[in-house]
Symmetry: C2
Subunit: 161 residues, 2 copies
Amino acid sequence: MEGFCFINKKERQEKICAIIRTNEVRTQKELRELLKNQGYDITLATISRDIQELKVRKEYSSNGVESYHLPNNVTEKSTIQKLQQYFSEAILSIEVSGVFVIIRTDPGNAKAIGYMMDSLEWKQLAGVISGDDNCLLLCKTESEAEKVKKKCLEIWGRGRN
Amino acid sequence: MEGFCFINKKERQEKICAIIRTNEVRTQKELRELLKNQGYDITLATISRDIQELKVRKEYSSNGVESYHLPNNVTEKSTIQKLQQYFSEAILSIEVSGVFVIIRTDPGNAKAIGYMMDSLEWKQLAGVISGDDNCLLLCKTESEAEKVKKKCLEIWGRGRN
DNA sequence: TATGAATAATAATTCAAT
DNA sequence: ATTGAATTATTATTCATA
C-alpha cells in the first residue's frame, strides 16, 4: 500500500548489482537506503539473502575502504564494455606485423588494456606483452593475427560511437 | 595466570595468518578456538582488530564455502617458494636467444609459471608470453636476458635441492 | 599502544505467512 | 518458493585499564 514500485526477485537482484557496481556500499542498511531512494522498500532479511545468492562480498577498494563488490564472474561480463571505453579513450593505432598485433596507446595505458585483452581469452591470442604505451599481441599464425586485428578494430569502432 | 603461552602482537598475528592459511576458518569464534588449542587465549575483540589490521577477509573458496583468506600481498610472499616447487617439477630447460629467455616446461605448465614469473616483477622483465609448454620472457637488452636466465637457474637449482 | 569486557552495529537465520 | 518480523549469531567499537 505504501511502496510505489513492485518488483520481483530477479529485478531486485539486478537493481542491487547495479547499485553495488556504481556506489561504495558499506553495509546492507546503506544498500537498503539506496534501494528506497529508487522506490523499492525491501527488508534487511531479503537483502541479506540476496547478497548471499549473488555471492556479493565485502572487499577492500583501492582507496582502502571496505565495501560490497560483485564476484569476478559477474564483473567479467562487462569486460568488453570496459575495453570499449579504454579503446575509445586511449588507443592510437592497431597494426599487424607478422604474427604480432601491435596496439599503440597513450602513455601508461597499455598495461591495463593488455590485461583486459588477456582476460578475454580469445583463442587466437597466444600471449600478450604490455609495456607503457603499447601492447604486443602474439598469435600463432599470421591469419590469426589479421583476425585479432579485425576484432580489435570492431571493438574500437563500437567504442567510438 | 591461566594461559600457558605468552605472546606479543606480532607473534599472535603471525599465528593467525598461519592458521588461516591452513584451515577453513569461517568465524572469528572458530579462529579463537583454534588459537586456544595452541595455548593462546585471546578475546574476540583482539581477534577482530587483528583481522582488520591484517586485512584478512571472508571469501568464497573453490568449494563454495565462505572462509577467511589472507590478502594477496601476503600470499605473494610465498611466490618464490611456489615457483621453486613448479620449477623443480615441470621445467625442462631454460635458454637465452637474443632478448628472449625461453623456458620449456611439461605440457600445460607454462601458463602458471609465466603468471608467477610476471608477479615477481623483476625489473629486467619487459613481458611474459606463455603458451602450453613454454614461456617466453622478453627483456629489453641481451645482457638483461642473460641475467634473467641466471636468476631462473638459481631458483631452479634451489628447487631441486 | 595494546588489550579485555561490555556494548553496539551488522548480518544471517528462524519462523510464520503467503 | 519468497518474504518480513523477530531472533540469533557474528563482528566492530567504546570505554576503561595497564
